[in-house]
């Protein structure tokens, strides 16, 4: 009877499991169909939420609940759930931050508002397949295995982890397209967006930022893009095919402002930046014959970005390696002409973020000296600056227009090299020695030749010297203070004293390079810089520990252990060292793995003589007594009656000297002083020997 009951129970159990499995399968199929049929943009409103199952590496998704409702669900769970999902609340940083910074804002916002407050660059989540998928909206769950706990029931495996990527791509593109419409950005048409975002990144989740406002302006365009059905596999296409870089539309006039330009980008201000779109600068260097040596692309870097990053784009797959705080290592350009004219677009991402580097294609590049930004050679810039040396790389088609523009800017007769010059790409021209002296008003509309219209903006530059920090230099190696722009009647003062221009174009004033802080005034602006002396505090350390009781640091050998020891150069034939005090005997053991004539050893006392190890049995024709350091023997020592060890060392010291004496070994350096000294040692040894008998 019991057996029958158990069998029935088992059957019922199997049926239940089967039903549950069937129900889940149906839901998954349904979801898959929805995912295929539903466009990505619509998914936002249906509130697809990524969740982490107990399996840490797998991201699962829960559907049904609309996005706005998810915040309260995740953040205001029951106490029991809170206890269980405390870690989850940590990883749902987006909404939590929003909740903390603006508690009322998040819950009262409409779905559309929530979308608009989402930052342009969203963190990605790592999916079970290893492919990061962008979350279109919070809550964001980052792949931190220890942090994940299931919060909500009815979770389903994510079958298409990157389903939301295209929308992110589109949104980023949407922002970039707006940025490109602003021609004032010059060579950095897309770089302002992340910079502005960076300023507000700490408050992104809590309130709208300028960039987000700009993003919302493009909402219609974005919605239109979203409403188009996304073909299956579109994500793969986006990932594998490099997007076409935007073309450069040229500069447009901007209001004239006199603003000091920082000598180098202050990366600290961008600490929290996770900018989507970054800049790519072009760096060119010349060889000693004036030919182009290298042409490279220098991708920007922000704080928090990985030190090494795999990217893909127009040049295929590349790995960027951190070079400085603000840029990655220069990447040599292959197929220079095509790259410069068509531009570059690179994309990269890590577990949580993605980035995009853009250099818009153009036919004209203006380069300024790279020393201002700490790069070798010349680096691309947005436009000419007055009284500063430049190099221009242009398409052959623009030759006449460019030369006319340069003449208008007072550049004299710059030297033009064509592609016969090594390194210059075919159908491109390189213009050297471009130093504009006239200001030229820009055209009203965006135009590529506006880059050749130097503006009168006065900008100080601190060039050269030994820079210790951002605006701190080493005393004795100050920077050259130079200005670009129409300095004209602008008065320059340093520490309240009028600055004078030297022959090399640098400004100085009495005491301008003394230790301490200095203030530079120009045109109603001021900048401080400082110089300091070097602190001569350099400590020794065990840089190379060789497991031989000593370590090497630079040119110094440090012995491990506190007891003072003397370094002695010991001939291999004279390994027995004796000191001035009876009992000071030390056998320097030679290494067995090498043969050498001389070696160094640490001796626990100041060495005086070096003797053969067994003087009584050496060949007296070749064996010698070596004087290391002349010191008088100390005869007045107490005998150690009862102290066997001390007595033995005394006896050894005496025996060594007596053996060498009896053998009548010669001194290595035969002179009267050394002979007399050796005689005194013999006398002391003989005296002690008698005393100890």
């Amino acid at each position: 009877m019991n057996r029958m009951f158990l069998i029935i129970l088992l059957i019922i159990g199997f049926l239940c499991v089967g039903l549950v499995w069937f129900a889940r399968k149906r839901r998954r199929d349904l979801f898959t169909r929805q995912a295929n049929q539903t466009q990505v943009g619509d998914e936002r409103t249906t509130g697809t939420v990524f969740q982490e199952q107990a399996e840490p590496s797998e991201i699962v998704r829960k559907e049904q609940a609309p996005v706005p409702e998810m915040y309260p669900t995740a953040l205001h769970a029951d106490d029991g759930e809170k206890a269980e999902s405390a870690d989850v609340r940590e990883v749902i940083s987006g909404p939590q931050e929003a909740h903390e910074t603006n508690p009322s804002g998040v819950q009262s916002q409409s779905p559309l508002e929530l979308l608009s407050t989402t930052p342009v660059e969203e963190p990605l989540i790592q999916t079970g397949t290893g492919e990061p998928a962008s979350l279109e909206h919070p809550p964001t769950i980052i792949d931190e295995p220890a942090l994940f706990r299931p919060v909500l029931p009815q979770v389903e495996p994510c079958e298409d982890p990157a389903i939301s990527s295209p929308a992110t791509e589109k949104r980023a593109d949407a922002v970039i397209s707006v940025e490109h419409e602003d021609p004032n950005e010059g060579l950095r048409p897309v770089a302002e967006a992340p910079e502005e975002l960076a300023k507000n990144s700490g408050q992104r989740r809590g309130r709208r930022t300028n960039a987000e406002d700009r993003f919302t302006k493009t909402g219609v365009e974005e919605q239109e893009q979203r409403s188009k059905p996304e073909p299956e596999g579109a994500i793969a296409i986006l990932e594998s095919q490099p997007a076409t870089p935007p073309s450069y539309s040229g500069l447009a006039p901007v209001p004239h402002t006199v603003r000091p330009q920082p000598a180098r980008r202050d990366n600290d201000q961008q600490t929290s930046s996770t900018g989507t779109s970054l800049n790519v600068r072009v760096q060119l260097t010349f060889d000693r014959h004036g030919g182009l040596r290298t042409l490279a692309l220098v991708p920007d870097r922000r704080d928090g970005m990985p030190e090494e990053l795999d990217i893909y784009g127009s040049q295929g797959e590349l790995r960027l390696i951190e070079f400085r705080d603000d840029c990655y290592e220069p990447v040599p350009i292959t197929n220079v002409g095509k790259t410069l004219s068509e531009g570059v677009e690179w994309r990269g991402r890590d577990d949580a973020r993605r980035w995009r580097w853009v250099l818009s294609g153009r036919q004209l590049y203006v380069f300024a000296r790279g020393d201002e930004c700490g790069l070798h050679g010349f680096v691309s810039t947005s436009r000419l600056c007055l009284n500063a040396p430049h190099v221009i790389l242009m398409s052959r088609d623009l030759r006449d227009e460019v030369l006319a523009a340069l003449a208008k800017a007072g550049c004299g007769n710059p030297e033009v090299s064509d592609d016969t010059m090594p390194g210059v790409p075919p159908d491109w021209l390189l213009v050297h020695d471009v130093k504009p002296t006239n200001t030229v008003p820009m055209r009203e509309e965006a135009h590529i030749l506006n880059a050749l219209c130097p503006l009168p903006d006065v900008e100080p530059h601190f060039i050269g010297g030994i820079r210790l920090q951002a605006r701190m230099w080493l005393v004795g190696y100050p920077p050259c203070i130079r200005f670009t722009g129409a300095l004209g009647n602008v008065k320059v003062m340093i520490d309240g004293q009028p600055a004078h221009i030297a022959a090399d174009g640098a400004f100085d004033a009495p005491g301008w390079d003394n230790e301490g802080e200095h203030r530079l005034w120009f045109g109603g602006q001021s900048i401080t810089y400082s110089l300091r002396v070097m602190d001569e505090v350099w400590d020794r350390w065990h840089a190379h520990d060789l497991n031989a009781g000593a370590s090497i640091c630079g040119a110094g050998i440090n012995r491990r252990g506190a007891a003072p020891r003397f370094h002695v150069r010991v001939p291999a034939a004279n390994p027995l060292i004796i000191g001035a005090v009876p009992g000071e005997v030390f056998h320097c053991r030679q290494r067995k793995d090498i043969r050498c004539n001389t070696f160094l050893s640490w001796v626990p006392f100041e060495p005086v003589w070096a003797l053969p190890f067994d003087s009584a049995h050496v060949d007296k024709r070749s064996a010698r007594i070596l004087l290391i350091h002349p010191m008088e023997p100390i005869a007045a020592v107490a005998t150690f009656k009862g102290n066997r060890a001390a007595t033995l060392t005394h006896a050894k010291w005496i025996a060594v000297i007596n053996d060498a004496s009896r053998k009548q070994l010669s001194l290595a350096a035969e002179n009267e002083d050394s002979k007399a000294l050796w005689c005194r040692y013999r006398a002391v040894a003989k005296h002690l020997w008698r005393k100890m008998r």
Binding site: R293, G374, M534, D535, W538, L546, A550, G554, N597
Partner: protein, 313 residues
């Protein structure tokens, strides 16, 4: 001169990351088109400039890179008067960190001791002088306020391990997997790397193999009696040279010149000992493709050869 400025910068900063060092090299060498920087840059087309500078500064014992307490970067060594016994007296070289003031103090203290400041290309000025005995050296070091190290080359060599084949205790390695690795074998007769296939490397009983992949440091593997060991390049190279009975070292006792093929550079610390005999980097002879270290006394040459397991000829 850029190399001096870089050493001042390193001395002022004391320590930093590899990235900071590279940025400083880039910044300092970016200024102007000075001839010295051009020369250095021109030479460094095949070999990155910052790597060349790093190795030079390490050889001259100014800076330690990737050593203990600076695993991810560099740290400047304390200024040290490095002494080396020569037939004409004790040659003393200023190594390690330096400031203008320190250099001035050394100059004032050693004006009468044959002070000389040499400017070899690409490295900081070599400041050196000659003293007759150790007491004078102690006096100078006390006056200037510096450490000193007697018999530096010998002291360094005394503590270095020889280039011996891997022992049984040595951990076995395996060749890195992946088709992207470019594999080269060192040809002992030609003294050159030649490209081979992975299967050939795996089949070799004895040989030195270099594995290269983009953006990573090369890895060196020694196949030794059927086992694979990952070793420093120079150690593995000299183990193989000994096995193949290739004798490469030359020593001229009259000129005290110690030379070896440039492709067979010795291990870093051993080379430091050789360089500190004169304070000058080795001279490269393009015709013979050999490096020559000057002022190497016979005992140092013998000891270096012993450590490299090479006979001296």
């Amino acid at each position: 001169m850029k190399a001096n400025e870089l050493l001042y910068w390193l001395s002022a900063r004391c320590e930093g990351s590899w990235r900071q060092f590279r940025a400083a090299v880039e910044e300092l060498y970016s200024e102007g088109n000075e001839l010295d920087s051009e020369n250095v840059a021109a030479e460094s087309v095949a070999f990155p400039l910052h790597q060349k500078i790093r190795l030079d500064y390490e050889r001259l014992a100014h800076v330690e890179f990737f050593a203990r307490d600076c695993e991810d970067g560099w740290r400047v060594t304390p200024p040290t008067l490095s002494a080396h016994s020569m037939p004409s007296g004790i040659r003393v070289i200023l190594c390690g960190a330096r400031s203008s003031a320190l250099r001035e103090r050394v100059f004032r203290a050693t004006e009468n001791l044959g002070y000389e400041s040499l400017s070899p290309p690409g490295v900081p000025d070599v400041v050196r002088f000659v003293v007759s005995d150790t007491e004078t050296l102690v006096d100078v070091a006390t006056e200037v306020g510096l450490h000193f190290q007697c018999d530096t080359p010998l002291a360094i060599l005394t503590y270095l391990p020889p280039c011996d084949p891997p022992s049984r205790r040595h951990k076995l390695s395996e060749f890195p997997l992946g088709a992207d690795w470019r594999i080269h074998e060192f040809d002992v007769l030609e003294l050159a790397w030649r490209k081979i296939k992975r299967c050939d490397a795996q089949a070799a009983r004895v040989g030195l193999f270099r594995f290269l992949i983009d953006y990573q440091r090369p890895r060196y593997f020694l196949r030794w009696v059927g086992g694979t060991f990952e070793l420093p390049r120079a150690v593995a190279l000299y183990v193989l040279l000994k096995r193949k009975r290739r004798n490469l070292l030359r020593y001229d006792a009259t000129t005290r010149a110690f030379s070896l093929p440039a492709i067979c550079r010795p291990p870093q610390l051993l080379e430091r000992a050789l360089v500190l005999c004169s304070g000058l980097p080795p001279a490269f002879d393009p015709t013979s493709a050999r490096l020559t270290y000057s002022d190497v006394t016979q005992d140092i040459a013998l000891l270096a050869a012993e450590l490299l397991r090479q006979p001296l000829s």
